[in-house]
């Protein structure tokens, strides 16, 4: 019997046993689809987190109080900002921005909003890659010098405070003082860093009117200093220079610990990489389990049908099938199921990944390795257990196969 006849026989047999065929294929489909969907979601989340962090800039360093070592005081002051702004102290730092902030009730017109109000230096928006404005502009050096009562607000803050009017030129009241809105930030797609409903006023104004904390030595305290290294490769040098400068400024003796801490975006990236790796591993193990469940499904169907199939082989041999006719038929049956199931599984997994892309707002990445791995595994299970009855029975005497129970 030629291979084409064997192929037709295989198709005939698959069609005659629709339920068995569908169930077997389902095992392959579930396994393949689960692996592809889950791993591509994992990869997508990782890629999106990484790119968001990189969008903020990997050459940024954030300096803040080390509360483990500060007796409850803020340790960073405006004097430190001045010291770090001097290139002679920190040649590897190109610019420095400082912030001080807290939650405030912000009233605009008849609306009010509880949100973070931060005092920031004029370069804050540039340093943090938030230098795009929906309308108006950022804060100026003159605003900072004159402690101007002006505010830049996030796009969400603008819509909730001024739902029906153009926000620029309007005033908002914070803690009984009114500020003129001079800028509305463009919406940031990023889920990290500053949110879209924050409100920003000049640092000097905030220190004078809202946040009056002082350091242990009586200096005006800031919460955070953001330093931009001249390049990503200079971040280590910048960290060393900032550390040295601040230790000197704070008069920290040789053996004592820092009363401040420095985080780099690279650190953050690493932290998130660890988290997303865990996520991917978690999704991967769920996918692995699905694959296993799919595999066991296939195995069960095949083993349950061994008796029937062995008898079938007995009948075929009794009427003259050769061993190789039987093997060819079963091999082709399994191949058709595995290939068909694999393709459907890829399609289904890919569709789920696309839906997840939309729902989770991440770009899922379906990579070839995942497809190969899952399809390979499922196909192998399908093939092995599909051929198993044939492999067992094709060598039996016809009567043994006919009598098999």
């Amino acid at each position: 019997m030629n291979i084409w006849e064997s192929f037709l026989t295989a198709l005939d047999s698959l069609r005659a046993n629709k339920l068995r065929s569908v169930l077997t294929m389902l095992g392959v489909i579930i396994g393949v689809a689960a692996v592809i969907a889950l791993l591509s979601i994992g990869n997508g989340v990782t890629a999106s987190v990484t790119s968001e962090i990189q969008a903020i800039g990997t050459n940024l360093l954030s300096v803040s109080t080390n509360f483990d070592n500060s007796d409850g005081f803020q340790t960073l002051s405006v004097k430190d900002v001045a010291a770090l702004s001097d290139p002679l102290n920190v040649p590897a730092v190109s610019q420095v921005s400082a912030t001080v902030g807290g939650m405030q009730e912000v009233i605009g017109g008849s609306q009010s909003l509880r949100t973070t109000v931060s005092g920031v230096t004029p370069n804050f928006f540039a340093v943090n890659n938030r230098n795009e404005f929906e309308s108006g502009d950022g804060l100026t050096a003159a605003d900072e010098e004159t402690r101007a009562r002006v505010a830049v607000i996030g796009s969400d803050a603008a819509t909730s405070l001024f739902p029906n009017s153009f926000p620029i030129g309007q005033s908002v009241r914070i803690n009984g003082v009114s500020y003129e809105v001079v800028g509305v930030l463009a919406a940031s797609g990023s889920n990290f860093g500053s949110g879209n409903s924050d409100v920003y006023i000049p640092l000097s104004t905030a220190l004078a009117r809202l946040y009056t904390d002082r350091t242990r030595t009586g200096e005006r305290a800031v919460n955070q200093i953001i330093a931009q290294a001249v390049s990503e490769t200079q971040t280590d040098a910048a960290i060393a220079q900032i550390t040295e400068t601040l230790r000197r400024e704070h008069g920290i003796v040789y053996a004592a610990d820092d009363d401040f801490q420095i985080f780099s975006q690279a650190d953050l990236l690493q932290t998130f990489n660890t988290i997303t790796a865990t996520l991917t591993a978690f999704l991967g193990s769920i996918a692995g389990i699905s694959l296993l469940v799919g595999g066991i499904g296939i195995m069960n169907i095949m083993l349950v049908s061994v008796t029937e199939r062995t008898r079938e082989i007995g009948i075929r041999k009794a009427v003259g099938a050769l061993k190789r006719d039987i093997l060819a038929q079963f091999l082709l049956e399994s191949m058709v199921l595995s290939v068909l199931g694999g393709l459907l599984g890829i399609a289904l997994g890919w569709s789920i990944a696309q839906i997840a892309s939309l729902a989770l707002d991440v770009t899922t990445v379906v990579d070839a390795g995942t497809i190969l791995l899952s399809t390979g595994f499922a196909a192998a299970v399908g093939l092995v257990f599909g051929i198993y009855p044939a492999w067992r029975a094709a060598g039996l005497r016809p009567i043994e196969a006919l009598r098999y129970e």
Binding site: K317, L322, L402
Partner: protein
């Protein structure tokens, strides 16, 4: 022509040995209608399986149409089953969920006939057993007698020289059994050798000769 000399068949079940055939001498001429009778467990089915090359004997020589079966390869035996022998089993042994036409065409497919020829011959065989109007029925859509007729059609589709039937009427009522027997008689009249295993004296009465078997040996021949 079937020639058997001192055929034995021993089954090994763990340490126990079951001697199903203990030296059978048998000769069946071309065109004969032979019934094999004997008590349950006497070795009738075992003998038929050996005759049909479904099973290999433990000892003795079996010559089928002047060829020693023990010298044949598996594939050659498959060829013999395909071309020269038709089987009818007590349990029908039809493929599940497969139409009557495809069941009957099955041996023709393994015989290498092309599709059109296969279908033509299968139709003819089904018509010959009176199932011309049930070609597209699957086994579970047929009565027992109809299923057995499908099996007979499958056995005769290849134009075999021998038809072996193991209690072909055992699962059927008397009237259906008689119809089936009628088909065998007719096939025999066309020159096909028929060997029927049966417990039913009425079946044996139709045969030209009855062979009695007891405890794996042939007892006597009735002419």
């Amino acid at each position: 022509m079937i020639q058997m000399k001192n055929i034995t068949k021993t089954y090994h079940m763990g340490t126990q040995e079951v001697h199903a055939l203990r030296g059978v001498d048998l000769q069946v001429e071309k065109g004969e209608f032979v019934a094999i009778m004997g008590p349950s467990g006497s070795g009738k089915s075992t003998l038929m399986n050996v005759i049909g090359c479904l099973d290999a004997p433990t000892g003795g020589t079996y010559i089928l149409d002047d060829v020693d079966v023990s010298q044949m390869s598996d594939n050659q035996q498959a060829r013999v089953r395909n071309q020269r022998i038709g089987f009818v089993f007590q349990q029908f042994n039809l493929l599940a969920r497969t139409t009557a036409l495809k069941q009957v065409a099955l041996p023709l497919m393994y015989g290498g006939l092309n599709r059109t020829e296969r279908m033509k011959r299968a139709r003819m065989a089904l018509e010959a057993v009176g199932l011309g109007d049930r070609m597209d029925h699957k086994p579970d859509e047929l009565s027992g007698g109809q299923q057995q007729r499908v099996a007979i059609a499958r056995a005769l589709a290849t134009n075999p020289s021998i038809i072996l039937a193991d209690e072909p009427t055992g699962a059927l009522d008397t009237i259906t059994g008689e119809e089936i027997l009628g088909i065998f008689k007719q096939l025999n009249s066309q020159g096909i050798t028929i060997v029927v295993i049966t417990h039913d004296p009425d079946v044996a009465a139709v045969a030209q000769r009855t062979i009695w078997i007891r405890d794996g040996v042939i007892q006597e021949h009735h002419g």
